[in-house]
């Protein structure tokens, strides 16, 4: 106690300026973690997919950074290839991206400090995708509040920038990689999520929601292709929450 107070006393209050950078770098360290590495392979796969679909190099990089969600970009490219109009693509991407809203709603209370300005949350929300969401839900609760925004930014923002470069690498080596390896690259992301999601699911309702989502996802995808994903979330999520709520009250 004496050691920490004597060291920290003179500079304890005006320090946040420096701490931000320290926290940012701490987040950046996870660029070498397994989730980040697996995502690199996914974006390499996406870069190759974009090239084979006839996209332009800079447009492909722009897709990665401006949208920061592989499913949205895959739908966009699929739409362009099939000659769909802008409105149709907009609607298809919007339907597939509804997940972002509950993800961000549940993420904001984890990352926010009492005085975090809204613009920082809006910027950070752009970098919230499945990988960084799982990362945040897992790591943030263990950190002091004031360090969470810079820590998450250090991971998620740099992750997006690095993956923009990796997309370019994937684009460049597209013809070199055998199709089978490209297929394996595309399998790595869902595989990784299956293995890590249970660790980010804390409550009974979270775990049940995963199970329901895995079961309902393919069923709804077959019977109600357009609305399948939304229904999976609403039906699976509501049921899981209801069961969790009943258990907590019992």
């Amino acid at each position: 106690m004496s050691k920490s107070s004597s060291n920290a006393a003179p500079a304890s209050e005006p320090e946040p300026c420096l701490s931000w950078f320290v926290w940012y770098r701490r987040g950046m360290r996870y660029l070498f973690s397994t989730p980040a590495i697996v995502l690199y392979f996914s974006y390499m796969g996406f870069g190759g997919f974009a090239r084979e679909s006839g996209m332009d190099f800079y447009q492909t990089l722009f897709m990665t950074l401006s949208t920061w969600a592989i499913p949205s970009n895959v739908i966009l490219i699929g739409g362009i290839l099939s000659g769909s109009g802008l409105l149709a693509i907009f609607v298809a991407v919007a339907l597939a991206s509804v997940r972002m809203m509950p993800m961000v709603v549940s993420f904001v209370p984890e990352v926010r400090d009492d005085d975090t300005p809204a613009w920082q949350l809006l910027v950070l929300s752009h970098f919230t995708a499945i990988t960084s969401w799982v990362f945040g839900m897992h790591h943030l609760p263990k950190l002091p509040r004031y360090g969470r925004v810079p820590f998450f930014a250090g991971f998620a923002v740099t992750l997006a920038i690095v993956n923009t470069a990796i997309t370019g690498v994937g684009f460049g080596i597209a013809g070199v990689v055998p199709p089978v390896v490209a297929a394996a690259l595309f399998l790595m992301t869902p595989l990784y999520f299956i293995l890590t999601l249970p660790s980010a699911a804390r409550l009974l309702s979270d775990k049940l929601a995963l199970v329901f989502g895995f079961i309902l996802g393919p069923i709804f995808a077959v019977y109600v292709p357009e609305m399948g994903l939304v229904l999976t979330g609403v039906v699976g999520g509501l049921a899981a929450y209801a069961i969790g709520y009943a258990r907590r009250r019992a």
Binding site: D56, Q59, S66, V105, L195, A221, G237
Partner: protein, 119 residues
């Protein structure tokens, strides 16, 4: 009238198309999420409900990526994809909780099966 990716010859048009066609419909949900989160605390009932819906949605996206994929994975039969996933999951939860190894094992299994059966 339908506005297409190559409707206009302007060099910036594809970027506008990407912004409106993919970035905006993805980001608008993120911004709505920030708006709806308001000042709710992380253990309020609404947040727990949102978390359950998010988990179900993410799980749904994942099964879709495996069962109804796009790109190169489409050329690999669905049973090979499922066997690879099953092997990786069994290894990870049953034998050794090493993420990187489990993911690469699944990927290697897919390559092995595809090459072995001559895809």
């Amino acid at each position: 009238m339908t506005v297409l990716f190559d409707s206009f010859d302007a060099s910036l048009w594809p970027y506008v198309f990407i912004l409106v066609g993919a970035s905006l419909p993805t980001d608008m949900w993120r911004w709505l999420g920030v708006a709806f989160a308001g000042h709710l605390s992380d253990d309020s009932e609404w947040i727990l409900l949102a978390r359950a819906i998010a988990n179900a949605l993410v799980a749904g996206v994942i099964t879709r990526l495996i069962l109804f994929p796009t790109g190169a994975l489409l050329d690999v039969p669905v049973w090979m994809r499922l066997v690879s996933v099953a092997l990786s999951v069994t290894f990870f939860f049953g034998l050794w909780r090493n993420l990187l190894l489990a993911v690469f094992l699944g990927a290697a299994c897919l390559v092995g099966l595809a090459v072995g059966f001559g895809i």
